[in-house]
Amino acid sequence: MGTITFNDVSKIYSGQREVRALEDVSLTINEGEFVALLGPSGCGKSTLLNVLAGFEKVSSGKLLFDGTPISKPGPDRGVVFQEAALFPWLTVWQNVIFGPQVQGIARADYESRARQLLDLVGLSSFADALPVQLSGGMRQRVGIARVLVMNPRALLMDEPFGALDAQTRLSMQQLLLDVWQKLNTTVLFVTHDIDEAILLSDRICVMSARPGRIIKTIPIELARPRSIASLTSPEFVAYKAEIMSDIRITDHH
């Protein structure tokens, strides 16, 4: 469970100037696979995530989740937003149990799981804190816990660590590796950070902008379990060199 299929999907924003955010994107993400979507800002990678989440509709093509067309957002596809998007008036605990609560699940059926997850992301002692009292990294950990508590078949992460400082980002990447290696959920991870994409994913899809297209797919065959120590291995550096030549970063100096 958790297979994602894009079949010639296009997304066009009509307006004064038509924007082709996605053009003929075909992509299959298999059950339990971790795929990173890498590209510069404005290349349509967030659009791809938004149509998959059900926040926006595709203009043409087919988009299936476990064989069913996607029509609206739902707890089977847990989204982690860049700025966490926690409810500022709810405590950490209330934020984490929001999903099961609004789905009408009995308290006894989610309470222990929510506690475990809060423990897993290291925030047990902050259960009664408000989001504003947390650091950016802690907020993002709440964002991950509140999604995992719903036991989604896929995790959609939209540059979740993009707004964090370098050190916090590393510890969050390690946390995500640990969590994912335990759960093995399908993950689509949007990022513009090459290191992050290589470190986390099984496969990197490189996107280009206007029109948004997947120009290259690179399988990452680094051994698992990985950790942030992998960042300095020779294989890692080789992948990085390959990707950098692919996206042809132009040197302005």
Partner: protein, 296 residues
Amino acid sequence: MSSPTERISSDTGDKRKAVSSWTGLSLVAGRGARRIALALILPLAVIVIWQFAGQGTGNLFGGVLPTPDRVWNAWQIWAFGPTGMGLNPYSGTWLANVLFSAERVGKGFLFAILVGVPVGIAIGWNRIAAGALDPTIQLLRPIPITAWLPFSIAVFGIKDVGAIFLISLGAFFPIVLNTAQGARDVERNLIRASLMMGAGRWTVLRRVVLPASLPSIFTGLRIGLGIGWTAVIVAEMVAVKSGLGYVLWDAYYVGRMDVVIADMVSIGLLGLLSDFVILQIERWVLNWRRLQSYQS
């Protein structure tokens, strides 16, 4: 060998340390006392000048405006004098009239909230509701509350309902406009997050749009309550036979300017008190927001 200056400086340093745990509390208390003192300077100055200007005759402007001591005396009789048949019809009726007015404001304001908040959320949240309701509201809004008086008396007669209608109407517009603004400005990702977690439309409204709009709603409530006090005085002057507004107009007709001034001050203090109550509720309800602004 330490010099005397060194000793003194280390001494004060120690004291400062010992005091530091108290500074938080005493700072707040000190700040509060200073704020109140600062706020009282202007009104006290006005009262003193007013009193001295009218010294001797006890009046200003050729007998029209009584001095503060006479206003104070009039208020004391109005508040604590014996009620019943006497030469002073206002004697002992202050509290009753205050309660009449406050009850009308309370009822009208409550009704304005019950209608204004849901309508405001609907306008801010739903395009069809906005298209259907907003133009009519914008058309009615510029009509001042005084212009509604003849209509209100014709429809409701000289009764409480008329006053409550005017108060509700006056408070309704700021409440509905601010609520709609708040509902429109809810962060898109909060809505998306709640939908992603399986919330239905109604749940999104109740658990996301409403709390996210609360800061704007409270702004509307404070403005609306102020207008409610204006409306109750206008209504009581014309459309009912009790309350502070009625006494105000009645006292003017019989030339009791001391009662008029005491009445005006009473209205001001009641408005201040009711705003303070709303502010306290807001601080309690929007605790999360206070923390937010404190940090930034």
